[in-house]
Symmetry: C2
Subunit: 695 residues, 2 copies
């Protein structure tokens, strides 16, 4: 056992360092001036609205988590149940810290833009976001590292490692449960508010976006935080812990490596190194903040990635363990590092491809098509979205192939971990976006000057780019994580030897059922947004009609009511897609057996990734095509092409912010549920399927 392995005992401590740093960063952000009374008032409303949503969500969540915990304690082990609660708690805390910080940083970014200029505004927004990034990385490490310290590190016997992997899978399932609520519920919240605000405010009443007279403006700003900070954070947290745990599970499989403890330790070491690299990268913002903001954000990520990859080279070399193929061939000892490299590079590349499809020639194609009306705008946008799936899928295949060639099935897991290890900094860049967006909204609502608006607008525009990259990254990492979890599932049910045979019609049935799930969940979530938005439209119309003085600006609209409507709708509409995701694998597993369930996971993974890419990229492209026209192309704002582009954007909203992202969660959640219930399914499914003749 190399020295590196013993270091993993301190993983939880490394996590604590990250968390404490996040605390200091938060204190720094909060200590910044928050601007005028009006600004403080608006930001307090956003902050309170966000906290209201979180509290309501948590109270529903608490019931859900308690029920599942009880079920797990009864059906699996008490330790798995404890891990589940802990995983859920860590995800909740990460989301809570991130939201707290984001809703403090938004107004302070606006104030900094107003008082001190662009460099300072960038710093505040980025540091505000980095609380989320660091919390995600740190809490993942504290949780997994803590369990490792207690159950894993001391256990040399391979069997103990397998047991550790089983326990810790509960942690991943906890994270997944929260992600489901945060991503699906958050996605519905944010789009109900957005669509409601736009339809009545912009279209019917003719007042600008983010106008303080619009009762849904605050809800819209809350939605940005709920969806893009908490939702995205929970999604990435799920991938982060899911990939680590899947790799541990694969690594723990007896006989797959020359040294099981090293195989179990490597993913943990990888994220420790990633967190440290992220801390350095985030700190470098002070160096870069004076330069072009887009370059600064790119550079901090770049510094962290290079440091991470460099350090990992020595770590992997120093561990000196080899992965063994099924055929018994020993792969190169540096193999896992090549997999990590492949994961990291492919993660970046997918982000760039997403950016291309939502920024360059494709959006000009859509804008051009808008000249002949909404129909052609939509056809072109849909075609662009479908086309945009090709290169990311090829990249994912490349990552799979490279990591497998160099480190076997284990390589696929560690590649996913590599992609996610520097999440501290990548997630900081992600969370920067909604903060800058909110800062713009607050500037507008509180009537700050042209110059300030120009700064917040330019920061917001960069936020759109980073958001596009972040969405691509989220899908790519979800794909690799789901694949790693799929392998972990196969190992857990003992199929790695016998295989999952695609010629077996039960597997084909599983494949079809799994393939259908993303379409079904996408349909549910899109319908949900439509329904929730309708409720918001009715409420905004009612306020405009019944509350005198709103339009004159003499009476404040009832923003809390709008937040309440979005919150209720989000929590209500989440139930059906959520139940589908949790129950589908259990039902198929019990009634059709482990092989069919394997087919289902594979089917859902493939269509889930494709549909997520299609929806996210169509949506992003429509949004930016509209902005491109608004910037003056084809007649600019108010022209016929612009009207067409607005319709495209309306369709794109639930595509990119609700349904698409929900699919990331779906494919990971059904895989982790399958891993956790693997033992039970193996035990009972032959009996059940025997009864009904499906065996």
């Amino acid at each position: 056992m190399s020295d590196f392995v013993t270091w993993t005992t301190w993983a939880w401590a490394a996590g604590m360092v990250g968390l404490v740093t996040a605390g200091f960063v938060y204190r720094y952000v909060k200590s910044q001036p928050a601007g005028s009374d009006l600004m403080i008032d608006i930001s307090t409303q956003i902050h309170d609205g966000a906290m209201t949503f979180l509290k309501r969500e948590y109270s529903v969540l608490a019931v859900f988590v308690l029920i599942v915990t009880a079920l797990l304690a009864w059906a699996t082990t008490g330790q798995t149940a404890i891990a589940y609660v802990t995983g859920a708690l860590c995800s909740v805390l990460a989301g809570f810290f991130g939201m707290k910080s984001a809703t403090r940083a938004n107004v302070r970014t606006a104030a900094a833009a107003n008082d001190e200029g662009q460099g300072k505004a960038l710093r505040v927004a980025f540091f505000g976001g980095s609380v989320m990034g660091l919390s995600v990385a740190a809490l993942g490490l504290i949780g997994i590292g803590g369990f490792y310290w207690i159950f894993g590190s001391g256990a040399i016997a391979a069997a103990e490692h397998v047991r550790f992997a089983q326990i810790i899978s509960g942690f991943a399932m906890g994270a997944s449960s929260i992600a489901l609520f945060a991503r699906v519920g958050g996605g519905i919240f944010t789009k109900a508010a957005d669509v409601g605000a736009d339809l009545v405010g912009k279209v019917e009443a003719g007042i600008p976006e983010d106008d303080p007279r619009n009762p849904a403006s605050i809800a819209d700003a809350v939605g940005d935080n709920v969806g893009d900070v908490a939702g995205m954070g929970a999604d990435i947290f799920e991938s982060y812990v899911g990939s680590i745990i899947a790799t541990i599970a694969i690594g723990a499989t007896v006989g797959m490596t020359t040294h099981t403890p090293s195989a179990v330790a490597l993913p943990i070491l990888t994220v420790m190194v990633g967190l440290l690299a992220s801390l350095i990268g985030i700190g470098m913002m002070k160096v870069f903040e004076g330069t072009d903001p887009a370059a600064a954000l790119r550079n901090v990520t770049f510094v962290a990635a290079v440091l991470f990859l460099g350090a990992m080279y020595f770590v992997v070399r120093g561990m000196d363990f080899q992965v063994i193929t099924e055929g018994g061939r020993a792969l190169p000892a540096i193999g896992p590092w090549v997999a990590i490299l492949a994961g990291t590079l492919v993660g970046i590349a997918i982000g760039l491809v997403t950016e291309y499809y939502t920024a360059a020639a494709p959006i000009r194609r859509i804008a051009e098509a808008s000249q002949t009306g909404a129909g052609t705008n939509l056809i072109t946008g849909l075609a662009v979205g479908m086309e945009s799936t090709a290169i990311p899928v090829l990249l994912i295949c490349l990552a799979i192939w490279l990591s497998f060639q160099f480190a076997g099935l284990y390589g696929i897991g560690i590649a996913a971990v590599g992609m996610l290890a520097t999440v501290g900094v990548t997630m900081s860049v992600d969370a920067y976006g909604p903060i800058a967006d909110n800062a713009g909204g607050i500037s507008e609502m509180s009537g700050l000057g042209e110059e300030t608006r120009a700064i917040t607008d330019s920061l917001d525009a960069i936020g759109n780019t980073t958001a596009a990259q972040g969405k691509g990254f989220a899908i790519g990492s979800a794909a690799l994580t789901a694949l790693a979890l799929f392998s972990a599932y196969a190992a857990a049910v003992g199929l790695t030897d016998t295989g999952i045979n695609l010629i077996n019609p039960k597997v084909v049935i599983g494949l079809f059922l799994g393939g259908m799930l993303p379409f079904f969940v996408a349909a549910l979530t899109m319908t949900a947004v439509g329904r929730a938005a309708q409720g918001m439209v009715d409420e905004v119309r009612r306020q405009f009609r019944e509350i005198p003085g709103i339009m004159e600006g003499t009476v404040k609209p009832d923003s809390a009511r709008c937040i309440d409507i979005s919150t209720k709708a989000a929590l209500r509409e989440m139930i059906l897609p959520g139940l589908t995701a949790v129950l589908a694998p259990v039902i198929v597993g019990y009634f059709m057996g482990v092989e069919a369930l394997g087919g289902m996971l594979a089917g859902a993974m493939v269509t889930g990734v494709l549909l997520a890419l299609f929806m996210a990229n169509s949506g992003g492209a429509w949004d930016n095509a509209k902005k491109y026209i608004e910037a003056g192309a084809y007649g600019g704002k108010g022209s016929e092409p612009h009207m067409a582009a607005v319709i495209g954007d309306t369709v794109g909203d639930p595509f990119k912010d609700t349904s698409g992202p929900s699919l990331n969660i779906l494919i990971k959640l059904i895989a982790i549920v399958s891993v956790v219930f693997a033992g039970l399914i193996v035990k009972f499914s032959p009996m059940i399927s025997g009864w009904i003749g499906l065996g």
Copy 2:
């Protein structure tokens, strides 16, 4: 060997009976009065336009087919190459006969509606369509039956049957090649003409649909025949022969049944019985034509299905052979009949589900959403389309499960054959639709009275229902056929014993690549329609501008030019999707091996079926939601909701008539290419993949 098996020697003769009957039916249709001089002139233009398209298509096709034939003769066997040419020829002939008849029947339907009323009009339209239905069934039987007579029936040794299956797979590939041209090219032709005619005529010039002053009106009518008669016919012909040949290939696999000759003979017997049942069903139209037209069309199908299933029960019992599972268990001797029953019923059920999603509550949901604009119309339509995938997929899974339980892998093949056996009558009902549609257009263009229009409108409305069912049926049968071909592929490359292991990352890569193909091809075809429609728009605008007297009706527009534009665009835009479909399996097979190719076929099958269902049903639902509003709901024609619904319909057009149907072809074509090249891939892929380290 039972007597039934010897009957199959006469399969080609049964086909001849069907073809001769089709000839008599055609003579009957042609002998009907064709109406006024104006009507004859219009229908001659449509007929000539259709023939122009076919001739141009055939000349491109001839080159393609010659090249592939030479390649096949060199790479496989001369017999396979001959089978390929024959398959292509049979499909071409079926399409040619069907188009000839349809473009004669349309004007005679209008004349019958004008002179003799609804019953006679129904008969002419249906008999006009039945030439297509009978030609598809008969030519399939003549081709396969002929090869069976020469190579198959006398050969008792199992090895000879395997060789026969290999040769005959060339026939299926020939059919697939034509289907690709007819469906993809036809789909682009029809929508370019349709969108072009609508955008300039209805929207810009404000003249009604099918107005004779619109230069694209004739091209639009030609397009209905090109897309819905020739395209649909080639699609179904491909499924028909593909499923028969796949089942022969599975049945020929040594050791899978107690009696190989019976297993090889059953699919041929099944379609013989199906053809005879169809002939009786079609003849029954004379009995039913006086009743409600929708009921009449339903009843002829019903009669044929019942006769078919009843007769097949005795055939299967009489053959007395058993399918053996891999485990060596003998399944019930009546098992294949249960599979046939499952296939037939599921085929009907999928059609009904499709009808539901494009006719009932879902379209009212879309119409209601149109009140808040095009954005919500589109979101709802997309959600409906995605939702509509669920039940058909469950039905397909049910068919797979039942047929496998009762007759093993062989059962999946024979279930597909069962679904398609009565194609003589189901395809007649399908082809009835565009004839009724054309009859309506001709009535409009030649100014027939209100009463006549009412009859053609009501026949056309029923045509929309049968078209919806036909589309669902086409996808369902494509799914089962692709699955049967997938099994045939596995048998051909010797993977039925070792399996295609989903845990193998190469298979996962194949699955992702395959899953991506339908998205890619859908994007290509949608973009193609956009581009081709733009060319049509420019031409129609030019004619309105440059030819004086068009709008006054004193000068005839240059319709031939519009047909030429659609034809050229269709042939040009078909190349890239076509090459993708043909080359993808060959490349993946050679470079990544037979298992990865298996994964690719499975991936394409799953996302292809889902995407095809989604696109076809969204498109149909948008179309009918628009018609629902036009019938008076939510303000009727010209209202804001109607404008929104028109935009939805525009998006739905390429969805349902180009991209969606192209996917049916894609999933079958890549499977049949894999089967034909199986031997070569097995031989060379280890070498190639060895060189580049992908092995």
